[in-house]
């Protein structure tokens, strides 16, 4: 008698089921890892140019962060400053819920040619606001290119 039997894939099906269970477990772990990596802060940058006018001017301001905020530093390019200029760089923070305004933290005066020409103002984590300002107290208007680096 000729006999024809269908392929017995029972063992394969068991292996496939085990693989599927492994894939499900891996997917759960990947989802958890993705949640952690998505929450990691991303370093960002923005900048501009301030041309001094003799008043205290904002270089960088974040007056109302959405939450705990970690600015890294502000850089100010002082290559335009000559021996005749004097500038004052000020740093302010606000630590009052709802915002009470900028409170002075630090103030530095730079007279004449600045060396090195790039100022780096380190910033601290804050919740309610940070300001970096520039004020020309002597000399003529100069353009100061700045940028800020922060984590979001």
């Amino acid at each position: 008698m000729r006999v024809y039997n269908a392929y017995n894939d029972a063992a394969l099906l068991v292996l496939i089921a085990a693989l599927q269970a492994d894939v499900t477990s891996i997917l759960i772990l990947v989802t958890l890892i993705e949640a952690v990596t998505s929450a990691l802060p991303t370093l960002s940058e923005t900048g501009g140019t301030v041309t001094t006018d003799g008043t205290e001017q904002n270089v960088y301001v974040n007056a109302a962060p959405l939450g705990e905020y970690n600015p890294i530093c502000v850089t100010i390019n002082c290559t335009a400053q000559t021996a005749g200029e004097t500038i004052v760089i000020r740093q302010y923070y606000d630590n009052v819920p709802g915002g009470a305004g900028a409170i002075l933290v630090d103030e530095v005066t730079y007279v004449g040619l600045i060396s090195p020409e790039m100022l780096v103002i380190d910033l601290d984590p804050n919740r309610y606001g940070v300001w970096v300002t520039i004020e020309r107290t002597a000399g003529v208007a100069r353009a100061y290119i700045w940028d800020v680096h922060y984590e979001i």
């Binding site: 008698m1 000729r2 006999v3 024809y4 039997n5 269908a6 017995n8």
Partner: protein, 98 residues
């Protein structure tokens, strides 16, 4: 020995056998048999024996949705038995005869 095949097969008889956990007769001896085809539409393997009572693990193993075919090349006109482990095999058969 004259070739036993008659073409076309004049008679066909469909039937089904619930194969038990004891040796079960599928077809009795039948000298006019020309063909026998059976498909296991049950859920466990059955073992088919020609001429003697079937024994688990011996003879032709027909797995679920496997089939057996008897024709002019392997014709057997004696009694055929089948057996399975728990009685869950079912042979759906067609016997052709003169």
């Amino acid at each position: 020995m004259p070739k036993p095949t008659v073409w076309p097969v004049p008679n066909k008889r469909p039937f089904a056998i619930n194969v038990g956990a004891a040796s079960t007769q599928v077809v009795p001896a039948f000298l006019s048999r020309l063909t026998l085809v059976g498909v296991n539409i049950g859920t466990e393997v059955c073992y088919v024996s020609e001429g003697t009572p079937a024994i688990i693990g011996q003879g032709d193993a027909i797995y679920p949705y496997g089939s057996m075919h008897m024709d002019e090349h392997n014709l057997y006109t004696g009694v055929i038995y089948a057996i399975c482990a728990t009685g869950a095999a079912v042979l759906s058969c067609t016997e052709g005869s003169n």
